[in-house]
């Protein structure tokens, strides 16, 4: 005597609900992440799927090696300047709807790596839905972020998702960044005259005060 038999007895054959609720419920219950472990945060991300923490309870344990099969990109670790175009390309290859979790201090703000080699926050490249603090965050924090993302998904509407064709997304320029995709746009883009970065770094400000 399974649950479905009880439901069949108790309920009529037709249910009415909002389409958004149904679709969002389906989406939030299987948020498949794209594997994007970049540094030590990735160790915690792997641990979140382990038997002790069991991210599968929230339908989010199937890490996909192909972005075509993924819904959410967990950027776990520092994004180097050289990795930035790769990350953007992976993001572009993910089908809509898609979400991004920025895991840890480095992905969120550059962290302690306030230098030329590290992108100072992955939100310079891709739009981020949930930020996780910590260095590194514990697996519980990642699970919490997934739950927050699920709440966010439930508030969305199918009418609000902009389903940008891929070619258009490839040409899109995120404000404050170079157009980083396949390199062809970077070549067309005439760079402004280079000059050293003028605003003092956090460490320099701390030293002078």
């Amino acid at each position: 005597m399974g649950l479905e038999n009880k439901i069949a007895e108790a309920l009529p054959e037709v249910l009415t609900t909002r389409l958004d609720s149904l679709i969002n419920w389906a989406r939030k219950s299987s948020l498949w992440p794209a594997t994007f472990g970049l540094a030590c945060c990735a160790i915690e991300m792997m641990n979140a799927t382990s038997s002790r923490n069991d991210l599968a309870r929230f339908g989010s344990e199937v890490f996909r090696a192909s972005p075509r099969q993924a819904d959410v990109m967990i950027v776990s670790g520092r994004v180097s300047r050289k990795m930035a175009p790769v990350l953007r390309r992976i993001y572009d290859q993910m089908p809509e709807p898609k979400w991004v979790i920025s895991m840890g201090a480095c992905a969120t703000s550059g962290g302690v790596f306030d230098n030329y080699a590290i992108v100072q926050g992955v939100d310079k490249i891709v739009p981020v839905d949930v930020y996780i603090p910590g260095c590194p965050p514990r697996p519980e924090m990642l699970i919490h972020a997934v739950m927050m993302l699920q709440e966010k998904v439930m508030k969305e509407s199918v009418r609000d998702r902009r389903d940008v064709p891929e070619a258009e997304a490839r040409e899109a320029v995120v404000p404050g960044t170079l157009p980083i995709t396949d390199g062809s746009t970077a070549r067309q883009n005439t760079l402004p005259e280079s000059r050293p970065y003028t605003i003092a770094s956090r460490h320099e400000r701390r030293r002078s005060s």
Binding site: Y116, Q120, T177, L178, S194, P196, Y197, S201
Partner: protein, 170 residues
């Protein structure tokens, strides 16, 4: 080096291959620096390939392993400004030596040693990438660590820590 052994001081006799170099090819040996039990031979730029080739092939030295090539920037005010260091090791004799080439800022060219050790290829690309040292005759002198469209050489002392504005993604 284990801690119970005393650090060899600079007055100890140099290893035989240094004396051999000084005797056979005095024009290759600009200066011999001994420190912490390691020997550094400053080689004039035009002789580096010949010196490397000799040190590799000569049976007394047999430096068959190029452990590393690295650059160093002494600072924009220094003259000569750049160093290129070649760390050699012999897997049969078990001895080491460091060769050093000094370069002026205006003329950062040095002959490639990829013809002597093939592994020098990537080491030289790295030194070019980070210090801007041009290795003449290198088969494929491209950047290796920084992105292809990078401007400047990141480990130079006058390179700003946070890079240049179009690239800092701020």
């Amino acid at each position: 080096m284990s801690t119970d052994q005393p650090i060899e001081n600079s007055e100890a006799a140099p290893p035989p291959f240094v004396a051999l170099l000084q005797r056979e090819y005095p024009e290759w040996v600009g200066e011999v620096i001994a420190a912490f039990g390691e020997y550094t031979v400053v080689v004039p730029r035009e002789h580096i390939v010949a010196a490397c080739s000799f040190l590799k092939t000569s049976p007394e030295t047999h430096f068959n392993f190029l452990a590393d090539i690295c650059g160093a920037d002494r600072g924009p005010e220094e003259e000569p400004r750049f160093e290129v260091n070649y760390h050699l090791f012999s897997t049969t004799k078990h001895h080491r030596v460091r060769l050093k080439v000094l370069l002026n800022e205006e003329d950062t060219h040095v002959e490639t040693v990829t013809g002597v050790w093939k592994t020098a290829n990537w080491h030289e690309r790295e030194t070019f990438d980070l210090f801007g040292v041009i290795f003449d005759g290198h088969p494929d002198l491209r950047r290796i660590l920084l992105p292809d469209d990078w401007q400047g050489h990141a480990l130079r002392k006058d390179f700003p820590l946070r890079g240049y504005e179009p690239y800092s993604l701020k």
